[in-house]
Every structure is written in C-alpha cells, then in structure tokens.
C-alpha cells in the first residue's frame, strides 16, 4: 500500500530503510481519483455495486484490524456493522435526532457495544473468545429481531432517512468515497503507529508482549472498540445507502461475509479488507447473476487460498508489484 521514501542517510549503518509507516499519498490520490471517475461515468447499477464495494471495504478493513493484527477472531462482527445502521435509525425515530446527529450516533452506538462486549470477550482467548463474540452477537440479534416496539422486528425500520440522503447515485458515491477513504486512512494510522505496533505485538505473541510490559486485555479491548467503531461507520453508510435497516444487518451472514473477505484478501496485510471486498462483491454481483451456486465458487476459491496461497490476494498483488518493480 504505502512505501514512502523515508530512507535514512546514515552512512554508518548504510541501511536503506524503507519507511513502512508513511502513507503513500500518490497511490491514495490515484485510487481515489480513479474511483471518483468510475463513479461519475458509470451507469447507476454499476455505481450501486461500487458503493457497496466501498462500504464493505471499510467493514472488512475494520474486521481485519482484529483478525490480522490484534490476534482476535470475531464471529459476530455484523453486530457492530448493523448497530451503526440501527443507531442511526433509532436516534432519529425514537429520539428525534436530526439526520446529521443520527449519522454521528451510528458509529458511536457501535463503539459503545464494542466496549461492553469487548470487555467480556477479552477475558478469554482464541476460540473461546470467538465463541463469546458469537454469543454476544446472537443475543443482540435476538433482541433486535424480537423487540418489535423499538426495532420494528422483522420488518425493520425505514423512511427515517432519505435513501442516499436524496442525492443522485454518483453524488452519494462520492460522499461514500470520501468517508471510506478517510476512515481507511485512519485505520492505517492506527495500525502503523505506536499503538498499532503494540496491538500487533500483543496479537502475534501475548506472552512476549507481556514480558515487554503490555497487558493483553487492555490492548485487545482498544483494538476491539476501534474495530467496532469503524464497522459502525460502514454500517451507518449502508443504512443511509438503502434508507432502511433490518435484523439481517446484525445477522450471521454479514459476519461470515466479512470473515471471508478478509481471508480472501489475505490475512496479515493491511489491504486484505479492501482487496477481499472488491473480489468478493464482484463475485457476488457477477457470479450470482450467471451461476446459482456462487457460494460454491467462493468456497472453492477460499480453499485454494488457504491451501495454496495463505497470503491471499494481497500476497498476489505484492508479488506482482515486486516483479514489476524489479523490471523497472
């Protein structure tokens, strides 16, 4: 993703260090401009697909912070995605928030639940922690699904916010592009900062991190809340995009989507969520049109990724870029 030119001019050590922490602004600008052009020139159906890809790129990137870096597995991340949309909807329908405040409330609701559930989940490790995230998610889903008076149950909530804020598809697409770009850059900041280094240390080797003085629980909790917050941003955008919210948004399918995207994209790389979302949603939109059994396709691809190339699409991209770099 980023490879600034932060080389050290220290002739003593003669180490030409690549600065892996800087943002490659040229690359970011190129991607954003390209995406903006695509949004403007494409027909609405394609624009819708692009918007969905962007929203899921953010959601998967937020989940990736947990999976790739913090050493946690979440089997219930759709909760934080969906509660963003519910936060938006409920703050408007039940508390008469203006839309702008509702949009802010969405991610905060997610972060709050991330904090509450996170405190419970970080008490455990590995698969036990993952099962607890699942329990939290299922309980939340049941409440959302059955608390008819507040959440509208099965029929969800709609009409609280104009679909796409009443903008034309490409205009809304540009808004989403801005929000998602800023959010992903913020996630980059998190991963490649002292805090991110701490999170990665704890994620890779809790025992070593403890010997260095880091407590696993507090560090993982911070990562969990950040991840929940950005999942909430994605969910809020999704809620605006469709102008509604349903229990499915907090359901297990959205969770599995996120997990598959990250693994497809390539575990242990920052871009996993982005690459994964692009490919997964592409498959979803294309394969599902022509082929009834597209989950079979996804399943087979995942098997290939896991067995043949665990570094996923990100690893593939890295290798291609390196090869091109060597030619130049």
């Amino acid at each position: 993703m980023a490879q600034g030119d932060g080389t050290r001019a220290d002739s003593e050590t003669a180490l030409q260090r690549r600065d892996p922490y800087a943002i490659n602004w040229r690359l970011v600008a190129a991607v954003v401009v390209l995406q903006a052009v695509l949004l403007v020139v494409s027909p609405p159906l394609v624009v819708f697909a692009l918007i969905e890809v962007m929203i899921f790129a953010l959601y998967a990137s937020a989940l990736n912070l947990l999976l790739s870096f913090s050493g946690m597995v979440s089997f219930g991340h759709a909760v934080y995605f969906g509660l963003g949309a519910y936060g938006l909807a409920l703050s408007i329908t039940h508390f008469d928030f203006p839309i702008v405040l509702g949009i802010i409330a969405g991610p905060l609701v997610s972060a709050f639940f991330g904090l509450v559930y996170g405190i419970l989940c970080v008490q455990l490790t590995a698969i036990y922690a993952a099962m607890l995230t699942l329990a939290c998610a299922e309980v939340t889903y049941a409440v959302v699904f059955q608390w008819f008076d507040v959440t509208g149950g099965d029929s969800g909530i709609s009409g609280h916010v104009p679909t796409m804020l009443g903008l034309a598809p490409h205009q809304f697409g540009l808004v989403v592009l801005c929000v998602v770009t800023v959010a992903i850059l913020m996630l980059w900041r998190v991963v490649y900062s002292p805090l991110g280094l701490t999170i990665r240390a704890v994620g890779q080797n809790p025992a070593r991190a403890a010997a260095l003085g880091h407590g696993r629980k507090s560090v993982q909790l911070i990562a969990f809340v950040i991840s929940a917050f950005f999942s909430g941003v994605a969910g809020t955008l999704f809620g605006i995009f469709h102008g509604n919210v349903f229990p499915d948004y907090v359901g297990v399918l959205f969770t599995v989507d996120g997990l598959l995207m990250v693994v497809l994209g390539g575990l242990y790389s920052f871009g996993a969520g982005i690459y994964g979302a692009i490919v997964y949603k592409l498959l979803d939109n294309l394969a599902a049109h022509y082929f009834q059994y597209w989950q079979l396709v996804v399943g087979v691809i995942i098997v290939i990724v896991v067995i043949v190339s665990p570094s996923g699409i990100a690893g593939l991209v890295r290798r291609v870029v390196e090869r091109i770099g060597r030619r130049l």
Binding site: L67, V73, L120, Q123, L124, A126, I127, Y128, A130, M131, L132, L134, A135, C136, E138, V139, A142, V143, Q146, V252, V256, L259, L260, V263, L267, Q292, Y293, Q295, L296, V298, G299, V300, I302, V303, V306, I307, P310
Partner: protein
C-alpha cells in the same frame, strides 16, 4: 407437562450428544474447530432420504441399515476432506483452519442444493417405530425412545472404546498431550484421520435419525452446528464427558425454554454459554 418437556429435553440432549461428541473428539485430538460438522450431519440426513427407498423401505431393519450405511458414507466423505485438505493446515493459524472448514460448509451446502434442491424433503418413519408408548401417564413417541436407546448405545460404545481398547487409550493420550502420541510410536496422521472419520460417522448417523422427524433442507447445517458448538464449548472443548453433561443441560434448557419463553430459548442457551465461559475465565490460567 413439565415432565414431558424434561423428557423431551433429555431426548434432544442425547441426540445433540451424538453430534457434539464427534465435534469434541476431533477438537480434542487435532485441535481443529470443525464448522463443517453440521454439514456432514446434513449430508447424513439427505443420504438417508436418498437411500432408504432403495433398502426395504418401511421396515425398521431397513431403516437402521440405511442409517448405518449413511454413517459410513459420511465418514468416508469426512476422511476425504481430512486427508486432502484439512491435513495441510494442522500447522497453520487457527483462523486458517476455521476458514477452511467454513469453506467446506459453503461448498457442501451448494452441492446439496444442486443435488436435492431447495425444498424440504421428508423421510417417512417405518411403521414399527411410528407409534407411541405410555410412560407415567403421558405419551412418548416410540421413535424418540428408540433414539434415546441408540444414543445410549453409541455413548456406551464410544466410552468403552476410549476406556478399554488400545486405540482408545492412544486417543485419550492424544487428547491430553499431543506429543505423547509420537512417543507411543503411533503415526499421528492415522490417529487424526481416524478420529475425524469417527466424528463424521457419528454426525452422519445423527443426521440419518434426524431425517425421520425433521424436515430436511439445505439449512440444516447451520441450525445444528451452532447448537453443537455451544454444547462443546460449555462442556469444555475436547472434553468427551463434559460434552455429555452439556448436551443434556442444553437439551433440557431448550425444551423448558420452549415451554416458558419460546422466543427466547436460544438466547437463554447463548447466555448459559457466555456465563460458563466467563466463570471459567475467572480461574486464572496457568500457562
């Protein structure tokens, strides 16, 4: 009424145990959390639907033979999966293993859709098993009683296998300490494969039995795997006996939940799991 529900719960618990015991054995030995276990169960159910008409439909003996065959077929399927795919990720990260079994879920589900369609199918019970017995003034379906009997037999068989046979001792050793197996001079790969096949066999016959009282469709996998996981987690991953107690507890709780708070019965079970997990975490771990 309460008595009936509790009996219902016990039966469901024993049935759950058929599935969960395989899951927990597999985890205990190979540390694989197998999401595809529910899919193998579903395949067992569909195979029963497919094969039963070919084998003396309507007779009880034919039914049991069918289920046995289905169990073996599912075990073979599981073995293929283990040997060609799962074996390659035993040393990979946990998440990779999870995702691989998750991919198997997706694949098996779509293949099932392709072979058997999207609609519910049913298997009609053999006449001999479709009656009801009167116990303590209430009617209990014969079939469920038979299933309890089968469950107990399987439980006893696995228990005896673990306790008394050489292979069982190796298995228990492998659960306690994976290095031990190597020390005992046993080919670790064989142990892993056999356990996986045994687990799948149990899932397969459970699916076969389920076929006769549940409508079968391609969503059966998720319905069952979540519950089985809860049982295994409550019982302690890899703990065979723990899984038994947990199965009964979850079965009874679910049945009672259906009686008193039908819409919340799953929530109650998830809460039970959460509480058990958190209480366990309070005991500070030693390494």
């Amino acid at each position: 009424m309460l008595f009936v529900q509790v009996m219902q719960g016990v039966m469901e618990g024993i049935f759950l145990f058929l599935i969960a015991s395989g899951l927990t054995l597999i985890f205990g030995v190979s540390r694989i959390v197998n999401f595809a276990h529910g899919s193998f169960y579903m395949v067992g159910a569909f195979l029963t639907y497919q094969i039963y008409p070919w084998i003396a439909e309507g007779t009880a003996l034919g039914f049991f033979v069918t289920i046995l065959i289905c169990g073996l077929l599912v075990a073979a399927l599981g073995l293929l999966f283990e040997v060609f795919l799962l074996r390659r990720v035993y040393h990979a990260e946990e998440l990779m293993q999870l995702v691989l079994t998750l991919a198997a879920v997706l694949i098996i589900r779509d293949v099932t859709k392709f072979l058997w369609g999207l609609d519910d199918v049913t298997v009609s019970l053999p006449d001999a098993l479709s009656g009801a017995a009167v116990i303590g003034g209430t009617y209990l379906p014969t079939y469920q009683l038979v299933m309890v009997g089968v469950g107990v037999v399987v439980l006893a068989a696995v228990w005896g296998f673990l306790k008394f046979t050489h292979a069982g001792i190796i298995l228990r050793a492998a659960t306690d300490d994976r290095g031990m197996v190597a020390l005992l001079g046993t080919n670790q790969a064989h142990v892993f494969s056999s356990v996986f096949a045994i687990g799948c066999f149990l899932a397969g016959i459970a699916g076969g039995f389920a076929a006769a009282f549940e409508s079968i469709n391609y969503l059966l996998d998720t319905r069952v795997i979540v519950l089985a996981f809860i049982v295994v987690v409550i019982g302690g991953l890899g703990n065979f006996y723990g899984a038994l107690y947990a199965s009964l507890a979850v079965g009874i709780l679910k049945a009672l939940g259906l009686l008193f708070a039908p819409r919340l019965s799953m929530v109650i079970i998830f809460l039970l799991m959460a509480v058990v997990l958190l209480i366990r975490s309070l005991r500070r771990t030693t390494e």
